[in-house]
């Protein structure tokens, strides 16, 4: 059975460094063309269904801007 995960990106904290995008083994994430008020281009979730919940993106985000939630535990939308 396929386990589902929700990925939340905090637009206020993200500085667009792309570490999460580069480190994700399943290409779930990509950089968007939208900037936050500080002018940083944000990371965004493009293929949530591919996520395997490995947590690599969350563990490597220097700005605590990305969180992976197992939908077994909670139901939360993909964008705060």
């Amino acid at each position: 059975m396929n386990k589902w995960f929700s990925i939340i990106i905090n637009d206020n904290f993200c500085k667009g460094c792309a570490i999460c995008v580069e480190i994700c083994p399943k290409d779930v994430l990509a950089m968007s063309k939208d900037a936050n008020p500080s002018g940083y281009l944000l990371a965004q979730v493009i293929e949530p269904q591919k996520c395997i919940g490995c947590m690599e993106c969350e563990l490597h985000c220097p700005d605590l801007a990305i969180e992976v939630i197992s939908l077994k535990d909670a139901t939360i939308s993909t964008r705060k």
Binding site: N12, F13, K15, G16, C17, A18, I19, V21, E22, I23, S38, Y40, L59, H60, C61, P62, D63, L64, A65, E67
Partner: protein, 253 residues
């Protein structure tokens, strides 16, 4: 987020540059605390001056002492000796801990003082504009070695081992799970513990040394995978040399 309870939300986003390794270390420390269920109210985080000193101060919702350049271990010594029930953790940069503060590092290790020293090692002086430090690799370009660093660099794990440290590890912010494991070990160790954490600074080091660092902060972090070699035993660390590779692992258990 599970780490929110350890943070002062009002000070975010952090002042660090985009992609700075120190933010990854910041969360690794808090994850170690969370996984061990430590009471953060009984911990004191001491730091010196520099980008790394801002990891705990003011981000951690805990007692934090942001001291003078190079001296956090001296301040930590006073705290720990007067109130041994507090868990005292020093988090500071490589220049702070090994250049200006090198004397305090070796003496805390010699005393086997029960504190944890986490050295956020970006191999450069970041905050002051990218000058060479004692951990800068030979030949690397910095603001004060435009022709390349002519001096060899310090092996901080070897240094504290020589001084008598009883728990030593090196990890990187790319190897986050190992990093958290080592921090947990250090936090539960009885005696002096030291972790050398390779934490890239693209702004000051990476952009001047793209041939080893890559073209962006993200590449610099991912490159650590290629640059590092795991060592299995502490003996390996001190006998085994591989040019331009970073040896990571636990060195004294």
């Amino acid at each position: 987020m599970i780490l929110n309870k350890y943070l002062r939300p009002e000070v975010f986003p952090t002042p660090f540059c985009p992609g700075c390794g120190h933010g990854i270390l910041l969360q690794a420390v808090l994850r170690a605390i969370d996984e061990l269920s430590l009471d953060i109210n009984k911990m004191v985080f001491v730091s010196g001056i520099g980008c790394a000193a801002w990891i705990p101060s003011p981000h951690f919702a805990a007692d934090t002492l942001h001291t003078t350049h190079g001296r956090p271990i001296a301040f930590a010594t006073g705290i720990k000796l007067f109130n041994p029930s507090l868990k005292v953790v020093v988090i500071s940069g490589d220049g702070d801990i090994s250049a200006i503060g090198g004397n305090h590092l070796i003496h805390a290790a010699r005393r086997n003082l029960e504190i944890t020293v986490i050295c956020a090692n970006n191999s450069i002086y970041g905050m002051t504009g990218g000058q060479v430090g004692p951990t800068t690799p030979m030949r690397a370009k910095t603001a004060t070695t435009p022709q390349g660093n002519p001096e060899p660099s310090f092996d901080l794990c070897g240094l504290v081992r020589g001084a008598g440290a009883s728990c030593i590890a090196r990890a990187t912010v790319h190897h986050t799970r190992e990093l958290i494991k080592y921090i947990k070990k250090a936090f539960t160790h009885q005696g002096f513990s030291f972790i050398d954490v390779i934490s890239p600074c693209f702004t000051q080091f990476g952009r001047r040394n793209k041939e080893i660092s890559g073209a962006s902060p993200a590449e610099m972090i991912l490159n650590l995978k290629k640059l590092c070699v795991h060592v299995k035993s502490s003996d390996e660390l001190f006998t085994f040399k591989q040019n331009d590779k970073i040896l990571i692992g636990e060195f004294v258990k």
